[in-house]
Every structure is written in C-alpha cells, then in structure tokens.
Amino acid sequence: MADALTTIRDIDRELARLRDASGEPGAHPKLRTSVLTHMAWVPERWVEAATETLAGLAERHPSRTILLFPRPEDREDSLEAEVDLRCFLRGGIEREVCSEVISIRLRGRRAAAPASVVEPLLVPDLPVFLRWRGECPWGSPELEELVDVTDRLIVDSSEWPNPEQGYDRLAQLLGRAVVSDIAWARTEPWRRAVATLWPEIAEASSMRVAGPRVEALLLARWLGVRLGRELELEHEPAGEIELVDVDGHEATPARFDRPTASDLLSGQLEIFARDRIYEEAVRSFSSVAI
C-alpha cells in the first residue's frame, strides 16, 4: 500500500496524479464528474456498515466522497489519508467516469477540528451532504463545525441508543441545519398508505405498529402532529415495518421493494429542500419550545 498522505496538499497532488494516470497511455484521462460532495463521519464501529453502503453509491451519485474516521483516543495528533478513484463504465457513453473517494483518519485532537480538514477538499459550488453514522455527539465541536460547512445533515435515528432524547437534541439543531433521517425515509410508503385512510381516521386516537421502535415512534408523532391530536401508540417489535393500523383501519402500502441501505442514502442525496413535516414530527419530541 502506498504511504499515507498526511497533508491536504498531499491529497490534492495524489488526486491529480490519479486523474492523469486514469486513462490509457497517450489517451485522455477518464472523466471526473461530481454532482455533490458527500462527507461521512464514521466512528470505528460503523466502518463496515459505511463501506457496504458506499459500494454502489458512487455510480449513482458521481461525487467527491470524504470519509472521516475519527480516532480521538489516539495519542498522536495527525491525519492520514488515502485517495482512490472509483471508475465505472456507464451505458451510453464511451469513456469511464470516475468519482473520488478520500478516506481520512483523524487521530488525536485532529478529530475535534474536522472542518479545517474538509473545507479545502469540498468541491466548489456543489451541495455538501454529511452522513453522520451513529448518534451525533450533540453540542460537540466536531458536529457543530461540520454542520456549519454542510448543506444537509443525514442521520439514521435508528442508530441512536435513545431516540427520544436524540430527537429532542436534533430539534435544537433544526434552526441551522437541514436534516434528513433515513429512518423517516423508511416510513414513507407507510405514511403514503396511511394518507389513503383519510378522512376515516380524522378523529383517530390510537395507532398500532409492528416494526422497529424508531419507525413506530416517528409514524405516531407524524400522524399526531398532522391530525392535531394525541395518539396512543401500541408497538410490537419487528425487524421492519409489517403492520400499521390506525383505529382499526389497516394501512396497505402499494407494492414497493424494500430499499437497501445504499438506496436509502442515495434517496436522501437527491433531496435539497427542508422537510418541514419531518421537522414538525421531530419538534413534537422536544421538551424545549422552539
């Protein structure tokens, strides 16, 4: 393996070298195409899941991907980076198209000041998405810094150990960050199905959900906020949503294929606007008046 790159200049040089070397000898370099910068904050325990999700994503969203692996417990303060070009042939075009993946280990105190590392690497004029793996360290400098250079923060609240508390803290961030929640995205076919029960459920008072707890919570809060009523949630644990019933009316979603983790993240990378409906549901968990 090549020596790790330890400065931004090293990373830039390596990117340029890889681009030049990407074509056949004497031929044009392969195309670099970007529609966004995709950052991911990946603590140690999420590395495998993040790598899996990333596979296949580059092809759908040609981008510069910056993977940040924080190692705050390391004694040495340093950054170590690797750069990779992921090239693929696309139907209909003759040349290969490449996305750039920059993996950076932030060791020691470097993990607390990540914005200064990523800012020089952001592709200018394109949106920046930040996927935060696991629970966000609410109020920490690394989260605050990265949110400030990001157009959209993507979380998956099903990765949080205590979601209610997490939503409470997330609600405080909504004023300055646009947020996507992959757990919320998973409920979309079911929200659509529940919507078809209108107006029979206008006066609903209870909801029964068989599925993951986080998704049940989000569905119940969403419906409660939309109807302007308190709903009693009856929850049966299951690996994925199997049943949603509102006051005895069962919601039946249209045929849909269960999306993969990559599909779900990919879907969020296509959204730019605030999701006010999600924000209202999240704020309903908040103990603080926003």
């Binding site: 195309l31 092809e59 696309r90 139907g91 075009i93 979309e188 206008a202 419906l223 045929r255 409906i277």
Partner: protein
C-alpha cells in the same frame, strides 16, 4: 367558528409526501399489437413503467391485431419481447402483475362490426380490472388503417370515463392528407384527447434543451442572431432501411425524419421562452417558429441517395440494391437544407439541417456555433488556433451537452487549443435514461400533452415539407450520389461552403 368536516378538508397527511405521477385507472388498447413497434418499444416501455410502480393499480392492456392468437399466446409473445428488449432486469412478479391485465383481440376493422369485439373486451376489462371506462387507444398501425379505427372507436365511445388517442407517425404524407386525418380524428375526439407522437420529444436530452435554455440565466441573453453564427442539426444513421423498403420507398428521408424530428428540433432550438411548461404554452411557441420559417428555395435543399460503400469495415449495398427497392428508385435517403426563421431573434441566422442513412456513424446533435471573438489579442500559431465556441447538444448517443472553448496550452508562448467541457447524462445521473416511449405513454395516461404534437404544428410541418419537395417533381438528380459510409453528397458540403462554413465532422 365551526370546523369543516374532515371529508371536505384537504388531506393533511399528504403534506410533504413527494407528488407521484400516478395515472388514473384505465385500459390501454394497442391497435397493431402484433407489429414490431409493440414488441420492441411499447411493451418494454409498459414493463419499465410497471417496474417502477408508475402504472395505475387498475390497469389493463388490450392488444388488437388481425393475427389469430389467444390471450395466453399474446402474453407469452410480449413476455419474450420484454425479456429481449426491456432495459430492466426481468422480474416475474412485475410481469405477472402486468400480464394479469393483458387481453388480446383478433379482429379486422375492415370487417363489418370488427370493432365490436374490442368494445366487448374493454367493457369486461372495466368489470374485472376496475378501469372505470377510461380508455387510451394507441394507433400503432399504418396510416391507411388509422381512419377506419378512429371512426369505429369514435362512434363507440365509452359512456363514462375519459378517452385519449395516441397516433403514431407518420401523420399523413403531405399537408392535404394530414389535414384530412386531423378532420377525421377531430370529428370524434377533441384536440385535448389527441396525442400525436413524435418520440424524439420523449427523449431526455430533447427536454433538456428546454431546461438548458430556460433554467439557466447564461444562455438566453446570447441565444440570438447577435451572438450565434449558425445552427447545425444532424440526424445521422449508420443503418440502411432494415427491411422497411415498402415504407421507406413512400416516405424517404424527408417524410421519415425531416417533417417530424428535424423540424421539431429546429422549433425547440429557436422557440421563445414559454410562459409555463403547459402543453399549449410550449406548443404555441413551437408553432410560431414553424410559421416564421420561410420556404427554402431549391438551391437550399439537397437530396441524396446512398450507393454501395463500407460501414464499420463491412461492404454494404447501395439503396437501389436493398431488398424491395426499385432498381431505379428516386427515393432520397439523405436531405440537407438551409432554413431561416424570420423573426427578430433569428433573422439571417441559418439553421443547417441534415439527415441521412448509411452515414459513418449514428449521431443526433444540435450544434450552436457562436460568432468568433471579434478581436483576439493573441498572435496565433495557426488559423486553427482559435475556433468559434460551439455548444453541442448530444441527443444520441452519449446524451449530454458539451461546450467547446479556447484554452491556453501550458508552456511558453500563447498556443490556444479548443477543449470540450462535457456534461454527459450517463456520467452524471444515477438512473438509466428512460426510453422515450415510457415518458410519452405515461404522459398520455396522465393527460399531459406537452410532449406531443398539436394539429396546427403538424400542418405547419407538412406545409414546409411540401414546399421543399415541390421542385423535386421537376428535376431528376443522378442517384446514387453518395457512398454508404460517407457524410452525404458533395452538394451538401457545397451548401455550407458557399457561406464560408462547413459541416461539423466530429
């Protein structure tokens, strides 16, 4: 204050859910169901829509043709067509759901009451599939068969629900026949119910032309005679007539490509910004361009016919040697023309168009060539050093847009090279581009006619084509006049050379 009952309130649960383009329940009847178009394009498109859950839940397809076949035979034939020509993986569950609503009617509209079988099938489909009397009639039949079907089905309109008619090209063979066809169809169907297909309009890149022009602030200010030297539009095919001699001998390149695709591309390139993207707003602007186009004189229209030659190293016969073609055929396989749009924006700016079969490669492009920089302050190494900027819209293949700009070659001195800044759809967006027919069929199911051609548009197109071909009756060019695998007759090159210009070669 009393609150409105829930039933009369807007559904608050739909807020924030992305709007889906979901059509109402309906039955699609394909006339000409045993034909090539149905197998290669229509059913693969329907499957692609089903694959993406874009068809309504209550949906049925009735195939109609003279060939005797059972429902099951027809389903099996279409299943094979989808497996062979579909752009998605073949999934049995998706197919089964679609196939459940497929029926086949073998009938001949030339026979008395032949249409009764179709009507009965549709009525029973309403009961079985809940299609609600909503009908789409897809006329994938030769022009000669259209009238009988329109009259028969028009006289037996369903009493409930809506009806739409999709008419495949060619829509007539000249202005008079197009007018007649319009009259016949409008006797039974309102203009808002008629969807004349030009599948080029369903192509993503063609629609992107509108986005490029009207969603970006930088192009419109220079999209006029002040800054644009000329426009070149090329629709080149490397294929020959592929066994379609009977059709092609009648149509030729001018009716096959110029009358519809090429004139549509000119209209989209030259049109003024519509006030919105509604069907009538867009079509109004296109019609204005067609009306403003003045008839090209005989010297401005070149026709050609290919002789033997080579395509990709393989020897191919000339047009007159193709099966089913008369040995003295005077049908043109190539047309080039210089057109002018006489309005404030485009006066004196030529639009050079060309189309041909057996060209060196398949290519559909719109090239906007800008005027040269008026006074470049550089000592150039060669005349070739500073070419004009060209905005190239690739419609097929390699869908995308590229802009040719001059850039300094690194090093001593001031050597300038033209470089291309490319935006390629395939390299930028994740999804494979939908086939034009997917978009157009779905638009029709949704009742959106923006990407279909209106009666007056078709008639304007025919008026231009009729004027172009009128002088052809008087002369008899020496055919063949270009070799297969070349870029057309010498006269086409001269057409531009007279203006000090040349066709783009690559």
């Amino acid at each position: 204050m009393t609150q409105a009952p829930a039933a009369t309130q807007e559904n608050p649960l739909l807020a924030g859910l992305r709007k889906r383009r979901q059509a109402e329940p309906c039955a699609l009847t394909i006339f000409g169901a045993s034909g090539d178009l149905t197998q290669r394009k229509l059913f693969p498109a329907l499957y692609a829509l089903a694959f993406r859950n874009l068809l309504p839940a209550n949906f049925g397809v009735v195939g109609v043709a003279r060939t005797a076949m059972s429902d099951d035979d027809f389903r099996e034939k279409m299943r094979q067509a989808v497996a062979e020509h579909g752009r998605d993986e073949f999934r049995q569950d998706v197919w089964d759901e679609l196939a459940e609503g497929i029926r086949y009617v073998s009938t001949d509209f030339a026979d008395e009451g032949g249409e009764q079988h179709v009507v009965e099938c549709l009525n029973s489909l309403d009961g079985e599939r809940g299609t609600g009397g909503n009908r789409v009639y897809y006329l994938a039949v030769p022009p000669s068969a259209i009238e009988a079907i329109v009259v028969a089905m028009g006289q037996r309109r369903a009493t409930g629900g809506w009806t739409r008619v999709i008419v495949e090209k060619p829509f007539g063979h000249d202005l008079e026949s197009a007018r007649h066809l319009n009259e016949v169809i409008r006797t039974y169907f309102d203009e808002s119910e008629i969807f004349r297909i030009d599948h080029y309009l369903g192509k993503e890149t063609v629609q992107n032309m509108l986005v490029l022009r009207f969603a970006n602030g930088i192009f419109e200010p220079i999209w006029n005679r002040q800054f644009i030297d000329h426009v070149q539009i090329t629709v080149a095919e490397s294929l020959g007539i592929e066994g379609r001699a009977a059709f092609y001998e009648q149509a030729g390149a001018i009716r096959d490509i110029v009358q519809n695709h090429l004139l549509q591309l000119v209209a989209l390139t030259a049109m003024e910004p519509p006030i919105d993207f509604s069907a009538d707003s867009v079509r109004n602007e296109k019609v204005k361009v067609l009306k403003a186009m003045h008839t090209p004189g005989p010297k401005h229209v070149i026709r050609g016919q290919y002789g033997p030659g080579y395509i990709e190293g393989e020897e191919v016969p000339g047009y007159r040697e193709e099966e089913g073609v008369a040995p003295d055929s005077m049908t043109e396989t190539y047309v080039a023309a210089k057109l002018f749009v006489d309005n404030w924006r485009w006066a004196d700016t030529p639009f050079y168009i060309r189309t041909g079969k057996r060209m060196p490669r398949r290519e559909t492009t719109i090239a906007i060539e800008f005027k040269r920089a008026p006074h470049p302050p550089f000592e150039l190494d060669s005349e070739d050093g500073l070419r004009p900027n060209v905005l190239l819209v690739h419609i097929q293949p390699d869908e995308g847009v590229s802009l040719a700009v001059g850039a300094k070659v690194p090093g001593q001195g001031m050597t300038i090279r033209t470089v291309h800044m490319d935006f390629l759809y395939g390299g930028t967006f994740r999804t494979g581009l939908p086939e034009a027919y997917e978009r157009l069929i779905l638009d029709c199911l949704l009742g959106d006619a923006t990407l279909f051609t209106r009666a007056d548009e078709v008639e304007e197109q025919w008026a231009i084509v009729d004027a172009m071909v009128a002088p052809w009756k008087r002369d008899r060019p020496s055919f063949p006049n270009y070799a297969a695998g070349s870029w057309g007759p010498a006269a086409a090159a001269e057409l531009l050379a007279r203006d000090g210009r040349a066709w783009r070669m690559h």
